[in-house]
């Protein structure tokens, strides 16, 4: 019994450490979750950086805000909504499909279809313009002679001369 109580006393520092580990920045799980979320959010000060990687003061403040909300038990969607309600859809690297993002979402496909259509049309037109010309016997002989007798072609067929 005496040994058990000594053992328990020895364990006390471990418990005190456990309470310290809940400190926000030092909580690796929460930090990882925060970074994971912040990587998909844009920093408004330096717009080509994510909230996770930016060193701008505002980004630091927003990361602090996100940490605190995660600690409060808000889920990722609620936190994203919180930021969107203040800064707009612009904070999202993955913009939602809305009336004014239709061009952004579907514009490339429209252009692709348009380009594909023009290409298809042009190829069809060209095909009808090409007429097969019959080779005369003389041409066939000349081609065969060139192919068979050319030493370059026989020795290194893959290296055409410049």
């Amino acid at each position: 019994m005496k040994y058990l109580s000594i053992l328990l006393v020895c364990l006390l520092p471990a418990f005190s450490y456990a309470s310290q580990a809940t400190d926000l920045a030092a909580d690796p799980v929460l930090e990882k979750r925060m970074i994971g979320l912040a990587e998909n959010l844009r920093c408004l000060v330096c717009q080509n950086e994510s909230l996770a990687s930016s060193h701008a003061e505002l980004a630091e403040d927003l990361r602090r805000e996100v940490r605190e909300q995660m600690k409060k038990g808000m889920n990722d969607q609620e936190i994203v909504d919180y930021l969107v309600s203040r800064y707009g859809d612009f904070v999202l690297y993955d913009p939602p499909v809305k009336k004014y993002t239709l061009v952004l979402w579907f514009g490339p496909f429209v252009l692709l279809l348009l380009g594909g259509g023009i290409l298809f049309y042009q190829l069809r037109k060209r095909k009808s313009q090409i007429s097969e010309t019959e080779l005369s016997d003389e041409d066939v002989k000349r081609a065969a002679a060139l192919l068979n007798d050319s030493p370059e072609l026989q020795n290194k067929p893959k290296a055409p001369q410049a």
Partner: protein
Amino acid sequence: MMRFILPFIVFMIMAAFLYVGLSLDPHEVPSPLIGKAAPAFTLPQLQEPSKNFSPQDMKGKVWLFNVWASWCTACESEHAVLLDLSRQNLVPIYGMDYKDKRQDGEAWLRERGNPYALVVSDVEGRVGIDYGVYGVPETYVIDKQGVIRHKQIGPVTPQNLSEKILPLIKELQAK
């Protein structure tokens, strides 16, 4: 003929898009707060920290809420415009010293003059986040019902003041 016209049309369309793109400022992110109630807060005043201010105190008035800081270089050019505006007594200007040391903010106003009816101090920048502040200076036009009607991102200039902000204020005051 089509060989030349078609590429030319494509070129003109692209040129038009690029030309419009030149005049757009990617740093001006439209605020989702326009048309919404100004977020509530209670902050200590800059010069008298024992007194608080909150936007609810302004119900029934059209007012400007200007976010500035002593470390903000663009605020210097704006300051003269705000001083000029305050002398005209057209609209009360309330300021928020954003993420600034209290002494620095006070000194700044002492040296350059104070256009504000009152200044609050947001040392930690939390109210700034609620208002979607991402670059000072920013100025909000808030109507009698406490709704944000306009957000000026970047300094208030004589031009945007006379073209947009003052006409809007007059319109809102008449309501």
